[in-house]
Assembly symmetry: C2
Homo-oligomer: 257 residues x 2
């Protein structure tokens, strides 16, 4: 099973949108796919029609059980998309950092849980919260590839430096280097600030950045209202076509780090 | 001194943009104004040209000193806008939840610090991270009014229910009820999903919602590139005009809760 994480400490850059779009495409292509919601806010869980305030069990239970030393089977939920299952988030995840505190050994909970599931799925995509904490650390330890959506605007560029520093820190504690792809999102070619930010991103991160950008597409909001990935609801929209090209590049065997 | 917090657990809804726009307007109207960055990602701090990775002292030091029992004076930074000062964030804030753990009494650190500053400023606006944790709890305990930006799209509506539940929990532990205003943002009248979400918001929260909405305005990105509030760079843009009307409503003496 290939495990991809979608992360960025900046909020609202398109992490959940990237997760639903790529997972939607993989499922539509017949690959059995799991999406994992590690965001206490539960956007991915809400997206597929579940309530993160009340859902049980959830990703929270992985940690609760690990703290007690047991690791039963995890309950996954079906989604409205064939070949696509969900490991939901609960709002209780927000208490983890405080509860676990400086306790060691809780960085590999998600990795172990996904290893136990690896026979059932070909791909697992992890949606991360916009915060560096135990949940993001777990996602970075569990994945073998990372996607970093970055909004093409100035503040997001500043924020990306922080994400890259975090990655450099994480790389030191991994045996294999973690390949990551920077995915420019919410690109609006009519806005000077958007065009200039994209150029700056390309200059600063030439080896990691995807060669294109996901354009602003008002149909994403429509898709989230229907609780289906854009690629299922509007397969030929600008957004779907862009995510299809991104997926093709990420799937290349020799895909650059 | 009036203290307003700008919070929403959902990322990318316009919290930092609302903080810079309202604070910019207050400063331009001659009110001495402080902006406080409690987001470990430091968008507000970066916005005004400082680096949250290296800046010292910062809001983090308020907590570090409180944990040691001392509370010296806090260092504020000037911004490029007359009458506007900044209490910056440092990325070290991200470690607070883990470090403080279940330790009690750390919910009033920001409130006490702002009380010590109340003679120097007429308004203090607190920008919050997109996560329910010790930082947001501090902001909600320190403020006498709350603004909740909500993007006019479906997922953000689901997320707002969570924010409102959080507020209901907080209200129980406050002596005075906390008045809050829901501010619809990133409104795009050309998109059905945006128009329908706004209608739904108005139906669900008639007493708390602002009567208008902040429109999508590409000039916000331009302003953030220049490190100045939109209201300073493009005072007659659609975004600035909308924030001016919001400010006028929030300043009304009998402003609804
Ligand atoms: N390419 C796009 N075009 C138009 N809207 C988009 C696009 N990508 C994302 N959006 C919209 O932007 C908003 C933020 O996206 P999303 O929730 O995926 O970001 P996020 O990084 O997951 O946010 P958070 O930090 O809260 O987890 C959503 O309303 C989404 O519908
Ligand atoms: N009315 C608007 N029109 C157009 N763009 C906007 C508007 N409001 C905010 N933005 C843009 O949307 C992005 C997100 O806004 P902002 O960073 O203020 O959100 P936030 O809620 O503070 O995010 P975070 O959760 O990361 O703290 C920024 O690029 C900002 O420039
Ligand atoms: Mg998300
Ligand atoms: Mg912000």
């Amino acid at each position: 099973m290939k495990v991809w994480a979608v992360a960025n400490q900046k909020g609202g850059v398109g992490k959940t949108t990237t997760t639903t779009s790529l997972a939607g495409l993989l499922a539509q292509r017949g690959h059995s796919t799991l999406v994992v919601d590690l965001d206490p806010h539960g956007s991915l869980t809400s997206y597929f029609g579940f309530d993160p305030e009340t859902i049980e069990p959830s990703a929270y239970d992985l940690f609760a059980r690990a703290a007690q030393g047991s690791s039963d089977t995890i309950m996954l939920r079906p989604t409205a998309v064939k070949n696509l299952s969900l490991l939901p988030a609960s709002t209780a995840l927000a208490t983890l950092d405080r509860q676990l505190g400086a306790r060691s050994g809780m960085g590999l909970v998600v990795r172990r849980a996904l290893q136990a599931l690896s026979g059932r799925f070909e791909y697992a995509l992890i949606d991360c919260p916009p915060m560096l904490g135990v949940l993001m650390v777990n996602a970075l330890a569990a994945c073998d590839r990372l996607l970093v959506p970055v909004q093409t605007e100035y503040l997001a560029l500043k924020g990306l430096e922080r994400m890259v520093h975090t990655l450099e820190m994480i790389q030191r504690s991994r045996s294999q280097p973690l390949p990551y792809t920077i995915v420019p999102t919410l690109f609006d070619r009519r806005t000077r600030a958007s065009v200039e930010s994209l150029e700056e991103l390309r200059q600063r991160y030439p080896a990691q950045i995807w060669s294109e950008a996901i354009p602003v597409d008002t149909q994403f909001r429509d898709a989230s209202r229907q609780g289906l990935p854009l690629t299922v609801v509007h397969p030929w929209s600008r957004g779907s076509q862009a995510y299809r090209r991104l997926l093709d590049e990420v799937l290349l065997p020799e895909a650059p780090a």
